[in-house]
């Protein structure tokens, strides 16, 4: 699944480590989600959406 995580992170000047810390996951996880290697569960997707203050569908896009 495609996502806009990298762009949203860059807009806030956050590193992958910064985002990982805010989401309470590993930097490895953020990298895997960002590069589309791993699709997060619905609870994690909601946490990401809450953090960016956006609906899920504005972060994760259909292929």
């Amino acid at each position: 699944m495609k996502n806009r995580l990298k762009v949203l992170r860059a807009e806030r000047d956050w590193s992958q480590g910064d985002l990982a810390e805010r989401l309470e996951v590993s930097r490895q996880s953020v990298n895997a989600i960002e590069t589309g290697k791993y699709d997060p569960s619905l609870p994690l997707a909601f946490r990401i959406a809450d953090l960016f203050g956006l609906p899920i569908e504005e972060i994760f896009l259909k292929d």
Partner: protein
């Protein structure tokens, strides 16, 4: 990679269980003479180290349950699936060889170490297929 709290707890439990395993194996070797008959007493003493090996399995189950990072948990479970598949394939393959030929008999004791080696293969599979080996916990 920095260890998360679940990994730290797992390492502490595995170290304690490993020490218990070594101590109980040494104790059983000291108490049970070579080629001893399987009496209730020798069986009971010989099974004490098995409590520690069962403890290893409990520690791994706790580790998976306590891991909060779902991506890391997925990597770990994939490693365990690869290890289980390899162990079952090797054990059943060798078992069939033992049935039909005079290949050396392999003791069941080696199943667990083979499974643990399978975890390393699982890391390699993760690395090749996803690009992340997963933590070396």
């Amino acid at each position: 990679m920095a260890r998360n709290p679940a990994q730290r707890r797992y390492m502490r439990r595995m170290i304690a269980l490993s020490l218990a395993y070594i101590a109980t194996v040494m104790l059983a070797s000291w108490l049970i003479p070579d080629d001893a008959a399987a009496t209730p007493l020798t069986v009971a003493i010989a099974l004490v180290p098995a409590l520690a090996t069962s403890g290893f399995i409990w520690a791994m189950a706790r580790y998976i349950a306590e891991l909060k990072d779902e991506y890391v948990r997925m990597l770990e479970i994939r490693k365990m699936l690869v290890a289980t598949g390899l162990t079952l394939a090797l054990a059943s393959g060798w078992g069939i060889l033992e049935l039909f030929t005079n290949v050396p008999r392999v003791q069941l004791f080696y199943v667990f170490p083979v499974w643990c080696l399978g975890l390393a293969v699982g890391s390699l599979v993760n690395k090749v297929t996803i690009g992340d080996a997963g933590p070396c916990a």
